[in-house]
């Protein structure tokens, strides 16, 4: 892992990190709940593009996803954010996720891309099924991760 960070709302434990992929990047969220892990993965997604600390969480955008299992739901969540970033020309730095039996309801807070300030390195084309997993580790922490195509 090369980069890791802490969500504004979490404790001092890092709740996201990147893991290496030869051509692209892996995003990983870590949390005491599945929801927190999904939120961390979203923050890791932003960190592929820019420093999340530079993104002001001023405008909320809501998304909803449905998928047959947790793993496909994670990919759907990240792809919904990729879509909102692409069509609204925005970046996000704060996330709230609610999971239910059928899917996910999420809110992302962010602001329009400011190229000079954000220095966005690369746009994410999509979240992939490579290295995709949503599971609990030995310590009971939820880990939600996949590789994203840039």
């Amino acid at each position: 892992m090369s980069y890791a960070g802490t969500n504004v709302e979490s404790s001092m434990q890092p709740n996201w990190e990147h893991f290496p992929h030869e051509a692209d990047m892996g995003v990983r969220g870590i949390g005491s709940t599945k929801e927190a892990a999904f939120e961390g993965a979203a923050l890791a997604l932003t960190a592929v593009i820019t420093d999340p600390a530079e993104v002001m969480p001023t405008q909320p955008v809501t998304v909803a996803c449905e998928a047959p299992d947790d793993e496909l739901l994670l990919v759907d969540w990240l792809n919904a954010l990729v879509y909102e970033m692409a069509t609204r020309k925005m970046l996000f730095s704060r996330f709230a996720v609610r999971l239910n039996d059928h899917g996910l309801q999420g809110t992302a807070w962010g602001e329009p891309v400011d190229v000079a300030r954000h220095q966005p390195a690369v746009e994410v084309k999509g979240a992939t099924y490579t290295e995709l997993s949503v599971k609990q580790d030995e310590q009971g922490r939820w880990i939600a991760q996949c590789v994203v195509d840039v």
Partner: protein, 476 residues
Amino acid sequence: MDLNLLKRRGPDEWHISPRGKMRVPGVIYATESLIRDMDEKVYEQVTNVATLPGIVQASYAMPDAHWGYGFPIGGVAAFDPDLGGVVSAGGVGFDISCGVRALRTGLTVEDLQPVKEQLAEALFHRIPAGVGSRGKVHLDRHEMDAMLAGGARWAVGKGYGLHEDLEFIEEHGCMADAKPGCVSDYAKKRQQDEMGTLGSGNHYLEVQQVVQVFDAEAAPIFGLRKGDLIVSIHCGSRGLGHQIGTEFLKRMAVSAARYHIELPDRELASAPINSEVGQDYLGAMRAGINCALANRQIVTHLVRQVFADLLPQATLSLLYDVSHNTCKVEEHVIDGTPTRLFVHRKGATRAFGPGHPDVPSSLRAVGQPVLIGGTMGTASYVLVGTKESMALAFGSACHGAGRSMSRHQALRQWRGRDVVTELATRGILIRSPSLRGVAEEAPGAYKDVSEVVDAADEANLARKVARLEPLMCVKG
């Protein structure tokens, strides 16, 4: 990669014998040194592809192969619909028809010098690049569908470029049987501001010079001489292609069990060619190819406008336009019988040899130009397809250098400002909205493109024609 996993069948040809659920062998074309540096994941992905229904002959990897998604990047595989063959959204990838086109300028390096800085600035300001950039061409619903059906042919009809460009684009600039109706409204919305944009990451616009000619027969036919100035454009189908890939990957992953397709990796998401999902994907993916062809055509038009202002004597004729991430219907000889196959190239270039009817008539005597993109600090190459390549890997070759270092490693090693300064001392002007992006794309983060190209040449996948070195690069 562990060489013990492979059987060497030639200096640059390595075989993986079928085992387990593999239906055909795996074949990797590379030098011993490239093979040793290849990730074990390439081996795993080549063997996984070999398990898919209806695959014929072999699951191939090109010399630049690296760890991809489902398929390796640099993977080639063909499927026979009459044997239950599949089409795979993972086998095409997110950036449908990402590719390279090269334009001759009719100028030499000497012509460039007086306006070099102005040209770099003008290209940077006129061609939208990078995250959050918007194109100047906005399509309503009707025009979006017309573009998705017509590709570069649509663009030329709208005044973007010249009719004679179309002859030098694969499929003559228009992929047949595209179905805009199979492309979701989400994908179309994602594209509405993105026509005529470069994108980001490894996409670029370069002005290059021909520094070396290797093939005295093909180079004059391609119109390439040492000292010539060339413009190269590397970009793809933008948000529309990414969204098509995203949506069909899920649809195929979910439907695979219904079609009794066992996926060793969900990223290999596939559907039978002769199924509703398969046909829908083919219709949408072909529309994605047309989007990429139209996009490169519009960027070409913008480049021509810039040159007309600063170097009006430039001619800017199209050498060729190749696509990297596609599935195309082609006829290949299998066990002595011409067979209609669905050929997937994921990070691989079509490289048809001399005499092939799909090669433009003026180039047919030597074969198809194969454009290999390098980095902003090293070199790109023009190769030509060979007769042998048709039998070696369905007429395919490598597509670029491939990364040797992750983006984070690159960020730790270089600062964007230093990369720009160092390249400027070598006469290479870099223009980018993001210095972090420049650091992540530093030339040292890539494999040696020359070694990859030499391996393709030695393996007879394609033959070297010319080496091009960058003079300026616009990065997203």
